[in-house]
Every structure is written in C-alpha cells, then in structure tokens.
Amino acid sequence: MSVAVQTQSDERLAKPGLWDRLVVRPEIGALLGALAVFVFFSVVAGQFLSPLGVANWLDDASTLGIMAVAVAMLMIGGEFDLSAGVMTASTALVTAIFATQVGLNVWFALLLSLVFALGVGAVNGWLVMRTGLPSFIVTLGTFLALQGLNLGVTRLITGTVQVSGMRSADGYESAGMLFASTINVGGTDFQVSILWWVLFAAVAAWVLVRTRFGNWTFAVGGSALSSRAVGVPVVRTKITLFMTTAFAAWIVGSINILRNASVQANQGIGLEFQYIIAAVIGGCLLTGGFGSAVGAAIGALIFGMARQGIVYAQWNSDWFMLFLGIMLLAAVLVNNTFRRRAERVRR
C-alpha cells in the first residue's frame, strides 16, 4: 500500500519513524510470531526444514488457513461462526453421500453441497440479523444441529459413522485434480490446498482493503448502528460474510473428501476455535471492526508450524496441549505488544 499523503511536519507529532509506521499494520505481530516459531522449530527439530517437512506443515496450515481467512472476514464484520468447523464435515458428507450413495457424478455432488453450504450460511446470517441475537448463540445452535444431522443422517443412510468409497465415483479423478492433487516442486509433492490457501488469502485481502464491500465489512463490525445510519446495507453485508464462511467451509470440505476419499461424521468438531485463534493471532479483534486477512493466513501458518513442529521435535504427545496453550499465549502476547503501538485508539 503506497500511502500518498505527504508528511507535513506538524509540531504536535513527536517522531514519525519508519518503525512506527511499519508497526501500524495489523499483521506485523503475527509475522514476527511466525518468524519466531519458524526459527525455534528449525533449530529444535531436525526434519522441520526438509522439503518434505515444509510441505507437511504448509499442508496442515492450508486447510486451517482457508477457514481462518474467511472467519477473520466475518470477525472483522463483527460476527462469529461456531458452526464453521462442523460445516467442513457437513459439506464433505453431502458430497460423499450424493456421490457414493445416490451415485451422482462427483462434480454434480460438489455443486449440490455448495448450494447446501451457501444455504446454511444464509440461514445463519438471516437468523442473526432477523432475531438480533448474538451470532455466538445462533451459530452455536446451528453447530449443534449440524453435528446432530451429520451423525443422524450418516447413520441413517450408511449404518455406520463414516461415508467412504469416493474413489470409485464418477468424476472423482477430475474433481480430485482441482481439490486434492499434488504439485511436484524440486522432487517434493506439495498439496494443491496450499495454492487455494494463498489464493483465498490474497483475494480476501484485496477485497477487504480495496473494495467497497471490504469497507462495509470494517464498518459493520466497527459499529453496525453508525454504519446503518450512514447508509451501509448492514444486513446484506453480514449475510454475505456468513455465506463467505460457508463457502470456505465448502472448499475445505471438498479438499478433505477428495483427498481422503472418506469422511467421518464427527469430523470438524472443535476446529471452529482453531479458526478463531488463528484469526486473533493474525490481529483480528474479537469485538470486530479491526483485523486483516493476511494476518489470519499467517496465524494459520503459526498454528500449522507449531502443531507439526511439536511432532518433529518428538515431544511427548501427552503434553501436546500444554505446549500448544503456552505457544498460543506467547504468540498472542508478542503480537499484542506490537499491536498496542499500532492501534492508537482511545481506550
């Protein structure tokens, strides 16, 4: 971003400083956190830096990252989506059931599950806007309902708690090319999901900062009442954001089902928090109105590196959660120290 305002020297400004201007970006904390985690595990864990290792943690970060970016946009818009985690399983289940049980072409099954996802997103948004209830509660309701549907429908149709057999469905190969192929770079296979992640983050960042819709997103999250008063279509903006999250869940669900060729009914539960954590590490405020898509993508990267790094370092898995908790607190603290300076907002 090239800032075109000429720096007039104002006697009320102490010292502008390049550092201060850099530090103003919401992503900077996350970036430094990512660097710290990267260096730490590069030193501690041998294989962390090997091409295979990098491909591994990038892959882990990618599906998390796609969701984190969407959730970050929603959070900037002042709302939560607790159903985002199960949604990744629901979309995969819908695709899998249509492809394997009904026997549709995979592409067609994907289309149906996309419609389903957008529908759920719209319902979430509509309920939140219509009832005026906090999205935390409404999406908790859809979270529970989807969780129940996932299990109930799967058991009803298949008699077990998983749907498998995608590999023999029509169109599996071509759809797999799009969502689940690998790209060979220098002898190592990288998952295509990494590309999706980068693409999604780039588009989201552009939309947020450069477009009118992005402006509205910040506005409705910062103050919905004020936005409405100056003519921002608050309801439309928020519903679109919920649908964006559902759309991201569809992408991730499709990546999962096409890569794993099977899906379990209880998948995705609890992931919604990882998305929120990644978004917050990336600089989003829980209260809305502030944050960055790139930051959320970096937050997911920190998460992926830490999660796989702990494995590379061969620490005892009993303590895994403890490490993760401490890592999270540390990352957020580093992050916050920087953001404090950035957010020169009256408190």
Binding site: V3, A4, V5, Q8, D10, R12, L13, W206, R210, T211, R212, G214, N215, F218, A219, G222, S223, L225, S226, S227, R228, A229, V230, G231, V232, P233, L285, G289, F290, E343, R344, V345, R346
Partner: protein, 256 residues
C-alpha cells in the same frame, strides 16, 4: 419539500413525540429547539429513516413516504449529522467520510475504491472547515470530540443533495469551528437546500434560522417564522418561559 403532519413516535411505553407538524422548504433553515429530552433527536431520526413514525404523515415532495432505512433517506437526498455522530471509531478518517457512498474506479469484479480521491477530498473538505488533520489515515477514534464532530458535518455537507439535517452540530465545537458550521448552514441554504438545525444555543439558531419549531416534552409549543419572534423571546421560550427569569436573576447575582 419535507412536511410532517401530526407525527408521533413511542418507544415501548415512552411517548417521545406526539402531534408534531412542521415543514422544511428549499432554501430555508428550520430550527428545532427545546429542552433536553423534548424529542428533537427523535423527530430528526424519523426524517433520516433511522426510526419509523407510528402516527401521522411524512410527506416528501408531496408524496407520503416511510423510510425503512437511512439508505433510502440518503438516496432521496437527505443527509444527516447525528447527535451521537455515527462514525466508526476504528476506521480511518477518510473511510468514515466516504462510508456508504464510496467512490470507485474500475469495472465488474475489479471495481475498487478510489483511495486517492477519497483521501484528497476528505483532506480538502476538512481543511475548509478549519480542521487540519495530521493524517486522514488515522482512526477516527483518536480524534478529539470536536474533530470527530467536524468529520460528521463535513460528510453530511458533502453528500447532502436536497435536505441537510444537523442534530446539535455545534455542541462540542470551539467558537471558531461553530462559526464555520453556521456559515456552512447558511451556504447550504443559499444553494437551495432545505436545512433542519437542532441546537440549544439561541445565539446560534437565531442568525441562520427561518422557522423555529419549539418542542417540549414531546409536544409542539408552536412554530414561528423569523419575523414573528425576537431573539429574547426565543430564548425565553426555549428555557421554558417564566422559570428562566428567576434563574437569570440568580445568575446575575452570582456574577457579583
């Protein structure tokens, strides 16, 4: 241009406004005056589309309307400065300035904000009001109360096409800035806009107003043309008549 007839509004069991009628003509300033809690903000929120009236009629250019959102009011050319300002504290000054009416360049999916234009117009508009900001990229939340007020006013003046509504625009302003705002009001009026001005300061209302609507406890105390009333009488009416005399007497005593 705008006419309201016996308009009324209740919040739950609170009757905030009842049977108020007035008219806003192009090239005229209608001042709404009254005590605290008299229902002034409620009246203008109905005009601005924030709330809907429960009773009475709201005519715009002779047609009965009922705005379901401020967007519709804006689209009809009614721009408003709210008492609680309606700014988004975490957003930058220029983004707040253009919020809801963003300038764009490009086409189709590549349509994007014209940020250069946004920044420059904002800077110019504010500078004209005598506010020189360090940086239009700074969040509105870091501005002082008066600076924030100026941003809201500059925005309304910039986007007001037919009617400009100002709810206590001068309350938080310094003497100089208040003067500038009054000049703006006069300019807007001269450009042929209808202006609705709410203020508690008769010294601000009298010089620019053409019509004075007095509210008390949600009801109209009467509507006066400028010719029909003197500033002293206006002040007396605003303060609730006789009661003021005692007070003035006391204050004068206090001045030693």
């Amino acid at each position: 241009m705008i006419e309201v007839r016996e308009i009324g509004k209740t919040y739950g069991s609170v009757i905030a406004l009842a049977d108020v009628s007035t008219v806003v003509n192009p090239g005229e300033v209608t001042c709404v005056l009254g005590d605290n809690g008299a229902g002034k903000s409620t009246l203008i929120k109905i005009l601005a589309g924030v709330h809907q009236h429960d009773k009475g009629q709201f005519l715009l250019d002779g047609n009965e309307v009922r705005f379901s959102s401020p967007r519709e009011a804006l689209d009809s050319g009614i721009a408003t400065v709210y008492q609680d300002l309606a700014v988004v504290p975490l957003m930058s000054v220029w983004r707040n300035f253009y919020l809801g009416s963003e300038p764009t360049v490009g086409w189709g999916p590549l349509r994007r904000l014209d940020r250069r234009k946004g920044r420059e117009t904002t800077k110019t508009a504010l500078a004209e009001m005598g506010i020189d900001l360090r940086d239009v990229e700074q969040p509105v939340g870091t501005l002082s109360g008066g600076e924030r007020q100026c941003v809201a006013i500059a925005r309304a003046v910039h986007f007001g096409a037919k009617v400009l509504i100002l709810d206590e625009p001068t309350a938080a302003l310094g003497v100089k800035q208040a003067g500038v705002v009054l000049r703006y009001v006069a300019q807007a009026r001269d450009r042929g806009l209808g202006v609705v001005l709410i203020t508690h300061n008769p010294h601000h209302a009298y010089p620019v107003g053409d019509r004075f609507l007095l509210l008390k406890r949600g009801r109209s105390l009467g509507s006066y043309e400028k010719g029909d009333i003197t500033i002293e009488e206006l002040t007396r009416q605003m303060a609730g008549g006789a009661e003021l005399e005692a007070l003035e007497h006391e204050l004068r005593a206090v001045q030693k």
